[in-house]
């Protein structure tokens, strides 16, 4: 390796400008650390507050007050002195073993801006990489016209686009109801909402209801859901779904078939919006070497963190939904806690000061997380949607079916990494984001063990594809590196 470079470009890099990243960067910079906020989008807000600076949907009644709260995070960021680099893709975070000659082991961030790649050197990283929608594999889910509900919400926020034609929404979870309600406010037509919440989940969630009733969400959520149920067709207890294209062809969605009480029904559909909750987007954390664990309550993998967001990799913290689903308000507070801990680890504030400053944020975090257990339990998708039928594509990129994965298990592949090597599932550009959870669950069900025992894909940088040209031109001298950063 080349001579260790002792320079640090910044004290702290924050990756992701959703609520956790915005709050973390603003707080850390306001306390005097040199901070850079990196995000791939052109404007801040992450996904939950996507387009909050520029949405064409100016009527605040459509997107609702929770969305507009995001705008309040922008002022503190601007005033804090943090450097903000939008349009920046982070493809690697690593802490090489050699130290920089001065006792510090820098963290190297591989990033791309304006088509040029470079390595940024920092002392601490806060990953605020957020969540993505849980994969919802059903036969036909790869047909054009089938999108995630979150995707449709992005189209509304960024471009004021709503579905036209026959539109069906399906799944369960708060975002589904929120989107349906936003469509009602906007005057968009939804033909049916197919609710897949399993009946038995109600029984399991009931003991957790008192906690949920204490949360800030239940009244808002209730009101929103009741309005949707009153004004739209909601069909409950849906146990199976498939999306169909035109007979003999597969170029676009034409209808949705659902099963309820053992009977199949067909609905014409030009657009099908699927949603089964969100799960941490953990590719960057995984590729950085952060340990992760299976969370049985949220039924997903999450990087292991302490209550300041510190991961198993020194100098790398996680805040927000990327560490475990808690929602936007929880993410903000977790971002602040991670910032305080980073400041402490860098020697800028003492332990007592850190703990003292954290008190109101921790209280707000606890309040924001109240009732989470109820939602997680109620909205756990049924097994048929987590480990689908054989003919369902589970790896969209490589077009590998659940049946192929089961067959690989029978041939001796006991985990996702072997299945990946054997079948190519997880080897496409999405790097397992849309198949990882399903492949783990299919293997677990086939072997009769828990997902925790099966494990997850072992991910490596680059966590987002990068061109050969960018890699070839990775700058080596300080002057070259400066040239990239001064854009």
């Amino acid at each position: 390796m080349s001579t260790p470079n002792p320079r640090f470009d910044f004290d702290i890099a924050v990756v992701g400008s959703g609520p956790a990243g915005l709050a973390a960067a603003a707080l850390a910079a306001s306390k005097g650390a040199s901070v850079v906020l990196l995000d791939e989008q052109a404007e801040p807000g992450g996904q939950i507050y996507r387009a909050v600076t520029e949405t064409p949907v100016r009527d605040r009644k459509v997107l609702g007050p929770d969305y507009w709260h995001g705008a309040e995070l922008l002022g503190p960021l601007r005033d804090s002195g943090a450097v903000h680099w939008p349009g920046t893709i982070v493809w690697s975070v690593a802490r090489p073993r050699e130290d920089a000659g001065d006792g510090h082991r820098p963290i190297q961030i591989g990033l791309s801006r304006n088509g040029l790649a470079a390595m940024l050197t920092v002392r601490h990283v806060i990953l605020a990489t957020g969540a993505l929608e849980r994969p919802f594999p059903i036969p036909g889910w790869t047909l054009p016209g089938v999108l995630g509900a979150g995707a449709a919400q992005v189209l509304l926020k960024t471009s004021g686009l709503v579905p036209s034609g026959a539109t069906v929404m399906a799944g369960s979870g708060p975002l589904l109801w929120l989107l349906a309600w936003q469509y009602l406010q906007a005057g968009a037509r939804i033909d049916a909402i197919l609710d897949t919440t399993p009946k038995e989940n109600w029984r399991a969630a009931l003991p957790l209801l008192p906690g949920f009733l204490r949360s800030p969400y239940w009244a808002k959520g209730m009101k929103l859901m009741l309005e949707v149920r009153r004004k739209l067709t909601v069909i409950g207890n849906v146990t199976a779904l498939r999306a169909e294209g035109a007979i003999g062809g597969d170029s676009a969605l034409k209808s949705v078939v659902y099963t309820r009480n053992g009977t199949e029904h067909r609905l014409p559909a030009d657009t099908l919006l699927l949603h089964h909750g969100v799960i941490p987007n953990l590719n960057l954390a995984n590729a950085t070497g952060c340990a992760q664990r299976w969370d049985e309550q949220q039924r997903c993998w999450r990087p292991t963190t302490d209550d300041w967001g510190a991961t198993s990799v020194e100098g790398v913290s996680l805040a927000g939904d990327g560490a475990g689903i808690g929602g936007a308000r929880a993410a903000e507070e977790a971002g602040r806690l991670a910032a305080l801990d980073a400041l402490h680890r860098l020697g800028r504030i003492g332990r007592e000061q850190r703990d003292q400053l954290a008190t109101p944020f921790r209280a707000a975090l606890d309040r924001a997380l109240t009732g989470r257990a109820f939602l997680d339990t109620l909205y756990t998708p049924a097994e048929a949607f987590r480990a689908p039928a054989d003919d369902t594509i589970v790896c969209r990129c490589e077009e590998i079916t659940a049946g192929a994965v089961r067959e690989a298990v029978r041939l001796g592949c006991s985990g996702p990494n072997q299945a990946k090597s054997f079948l190519r599932c997880g080897m496409g550009p999405c790097q397992g984001r849309l198949c990882g959870p399903t492949v783990t669950e299919v293997i677990a069900a086939e072997r009769g063990v828990s997902p925790a025992e099966v494990g997850y894909y072992r991910l490596r940088p680059p966590v987002k594809p990068i061109t050969l040209a960018e890699l070839a031109a990775l700058p080596k001298t300080d002057a070259d590196i400066d040239a990239v950063f001064k854009h």
Binding site: E40, Q41, A42, Q47, R50, A51, E54, P56, V57, D59, L132, E133, T142, L143, P144, G145, V146, L147, G148, G150, A151, A152, V154, L155, T158, S159, G160, L161, V162, P163, S164, G165, A186, G187, A188, D250, S251, A252, D270, T271, N281, R396, C397, E398, E399, G428, P429, C430, R433, L434, K464, P465
Partner: protein
């Protein structure tokens, strides 16, 4: 199928961006991603896969699914949902494997 909300449709006229889809003239709103612009113009399938030739359209709109891949100004494998539409931009649906040098 997606349509623009009426109040935004009128506002869009003032901020219209002209571009092409497979050579055909099209119009979108400044600030639209290429994928949003395609959907607004009635294009639901943006590519066929390199594996089986199956038609695909956007799925996640947040840059994680890689189904929205299109060729933009001659460069293939671009995520349409991550690129803003620009005046004069040439967007092409991407069929099968990306061609080398595109």
């Amino acid at each position: 199928m997606f349509r623009r909300l009426p109040e935004i449709e009128t506002a869009t006229a003032a901020q219209a961006v002209s571009f092409t889809i497979d050579g055909r003239p099209a119009s979108a709103r400044a600030g639209d991603s290429v994928t949003a612009a395609l959907l607004a113009n009635g294009v639901t399938a943006c590519r066929t896969t390199a594996v089986s030739g199956a038609a695909r359209g956007p799925y996640c709109m947040m840059g994680v699914c890689y189904d929205c891949l299109v060729t933009i100004d001659g460069t293939g494998n671009r995520q349409g949902c991550q690129v803003r539409v620009a005046p004069g931009m040439a967007v092409e649906t991407q069929n099968g494997k990306r061609e080398v040098e595109r």
